[in-house]
Amino acid sequence: MASPINAARVRELVDRGARLLEVLPRGEYEEQHLPGAVGIPLKKLDAAAVASLDRGGPVIVYCWDSI
């Protein structure tokens, strides 16, 4: 279960090496994404895709908003 965090906490965790994962469609990711974020659209989020992330540290997932 993922722990909900706010923007300030995102920045703290990223400063400590956390990875960012955006799950929006590819086009939206390419237009704008958080610095350093990896883009894996939700529909393509499978075991192989997730394996490409660094599993040694925390991962922060985000979408457009909470709706």
Partner: protein
């Protein structure tokens, strides 16, 4: 695993940096100014009026201790009210605001339509980021 629940929309609205092909479109954060007069609810209106006269804006913004926007004191109102009254007594509560990622072209269009010279800018938590002058936005887009 963490979930940034408020998402990219929240990040952009805070004016935080992004990467990408549309990373830096003209937006409010490019021209927002932080030199607007601010005051507390308990501040004496006469004192606030003096500071407004000396400022580049014709109004003051009332904020909480955490800089959350509570209201506005227009210069015209400050001239007419009892100088010993408080900001809370004389302010217009809850002014309209925009976010730091507001599209500058669309914003200038709206301000022109409504004959407005300024827009108050806050973050998604309601904390004051500053004030945007329409003339600054127009100059930036020129």
């Amino acid at each position: 695993m963490y979930d940034y629940t408020a998402g990219k929309h929240d990040w952009l609205a805070r004016g935080l940096p992004v990467e990408g092909t549309e990373a830096d479109p003209p937006a409010a954060h490019h021209v927002v100014r932080s030199d607007v007069v601010t005051c507390d609810l308990a501040d004496r209106v006469g004192d606030v009026h003096e500071r407004v006269i000396a400022s580049p804006f014709g109004f003051a913004l009332v904020v909480s201790e955490h800089r959350c926007l509570l209201g506005r004191l227009r210069g015209s109102a400050l001239e007419q009210c009892d100088p010993d009254s408080t900001a809370e007594q004389e302010m217009e509560p809850g002014p309209s605001t925009i976010r730091l990622d507001a599209d500058l072209r669309a914003l200038v269009g709206r301000l022109r339509e409504r004959n407005l010279m300024f827009a108050v800018v806050t973050d998604p938590d309601g904390r004051l980021a500053g004030v945007l002058r329409r003339s600054d936005a127009e100059a930036f887009l020129a």
